[in-house]
Symmetry: none
Subunit: 292 residues, 2 copies
DNA sequence: CGCCCTGTGAACATCCTGTGATGATTCTCT
DNA sequence: AGAGAATCATCACAGGATGTTCACAGGGCG
């Protein structure tokens, strides 16, 4: 196996909910060199991460809402097995990657049997750690689907529900088509920022807009019609001449002078989504270019 | 590696639904010594297994209905990456463990990124291979553990009983076939969310849907027919054009203006994770109690 | 004042879904 | 093992929903 690896080889096919959406992981280790190098990589990936120097009770780990945990068993001392077992029992959905010094086959087998998802032997390349964490999380994610990310977005009178691919006003559906929904979702996610036509087009259609294409305008019109019919006292999509469109719910009622309600999201919303996908291709490229 | 591992140490107590329930795996390798030793272990575990000496097209792998595949990339030759990628793409639910000779970090990262679930470097102990396969499969299986959940799900007039693989209306069975039942179960479990065709397909068929496949539609139709016949005053499966289907019981009766009853579960429902967690810890404990 | 941009409606092409039928495969019972 | 039934995979076709493109009208901007 002497193949050379190029960026295109490794670049992952950009899936919707791609594997490399930003993850949240913790590293339980004391090897400062390892931690430093790994942290740097994690930063670049845009993953939230946290370094722990000593064993943490399961409850606290729960509270961290991690996707995965990288742990050096050496830190745990003699109670390593017990701790590992308890943690795996308490958090069956947590990805656990043991990354530790030389070990026997028996130890590795035991760790894996106790519930660890992978076992890496130090010294190891941080990139491999990341790849293995991704692999573990990828497999973990599939079942739960998007059950977790079902946060409705509100703006004015409309409620945008990604889980239903629909927008609602007072409980009744706007009956949006796929593209219409993608459009309102995109605009609403921009939280009042102006989006240029080109950007809208490339995000929805996946390729760059050719000059003179009126598709975006047409869909904006259709959306406006449906919004107007369902929620006449509000304006949602605002034209910015020569630039594009901005989404912001504005009431037309006289009494409420200037009610402006930008698209809002639940408090614990994770902002990194959009960027992460872009960052991803980027990331992958870097990953393999320098590495190895 | 000083510990000696004997089969009895690790051999799974023939648990009924344990992690080590019999798996079905294939080994794609030509290293006769390795194969022989591994096969012997697999026999003792009671796993169905099959040795392949040369790359097999994805379709055939599908037909084998495997839990996992252990593969030595050396067997695949230069097209190893391509083959791996295609296989992972087609069978997102298949556990893939690469077990191959010395490799670079880059190669391992690449393999994992392409969809492999683990990567073991030869020479390796067969017990570790087995433990890693189990680890991969354990993670994969979690969601589908329906054996224990015997809570009937109600939606409109239909009652879905996972324990009987049937749905009932007013006590009489709909006589659903296996696929039909899996479909209604999947849809109902989504609790009113829209499921995309691709997702439905990959969850029911286990591999990725090719464009133009109408299987999902056909089964939706069959389901609708049976539901319609048994419960004419309700609509259950709703089409979302260009996306997929959504399950929600809606009454057609005029008096009840807009009765919408999303799939619900009995009041005493416990997000069944509890049980599975318990079950899991249990298994794991057994597995390791004697070992090492 | 003229140019370019946007709003609008409609025609057209395309894609998607519902449906019935057919052949292949698997299962069951003898 | 073999016949028969049940189940599944696949196809072709029709109707409808959706997306795309066009032409024209109105309005902002220099």
């Amino acid at each position: 196996m002497t193949d050379s690896i190029t960026a295109s080889d490794v670049a992952a096919p950009s899936g919707q909910g791609g594997v490399s959406a930003a993850l949240r992981i913790a590293v339980l280790d004391r090897d400062s060199g390892f931690i430093q190098v790994l942290s740097k990589r994690l930063d670049r990936l845009g993953w939230e991460h946290r370094v722990l120097a000593s064993p943490v009770p399961a409850d606290e780990v729960v509270a961290m809402r991690l996707s995965a945990l990288v742990v050096d068993l050496a830190v745990l001392g003699p109670q390593a097995w017990e701790w590992l077992e308890r943690l795996c029992g308490a958090l069956p959905d947590l990805g656990i990657v043991v990354c530790t010094g030389p070990s026997t086959v028996a130890q590795r087998v035991r760790g894996l049997r106790l519930g660890a998802d992978d076992w890496i032997t130090k010294p190891c390349h941080p990139e491999e750690v990341i790849a293995r964490v991704q692999s573990v999380v990828r497999r973990r994610r599939r079942p739960s689907g998007r059950a977790t990310e079902t946060k409705p977005v509100m703006a004015g009178e409309v409620e945008i529900r990604s889980d239903r691919f629909q927008a609602f006003v007072a409980g009744s559906s706007l009956d949006l088509t796929r593209r219409e929904f993608e459009l309102i979702e995109l605009l609403a996610a921009a939280e009042g920022r102006v989006l240029e036509r080109e950007e809208i087009y490339s995000r929805l259609w996946g390729y760059t807009m050719v000059r003179g294409d009126r598709s975006v305008d047409v869909f904006v019109r259709k959306l406006r019609q449906k919004l107007e019919k369902a929620s006449p006292r509000w304006r949602y999509i605002h034209t910015h001449f020569g630039i594009g469109y901005r989404f912001a719910a504005e009431s037309l009622d006289v009494d409420s002078v200037d009610v402006v309600v930008p698209a809002s999201v639940p408090a614990d919303w994770d902002p990194a989504r959009d960027q992460s996908e872009l960052a991803r291709a980027h990331e992958d490229r870097e990953l393999t270019s320098d590495a190895l």
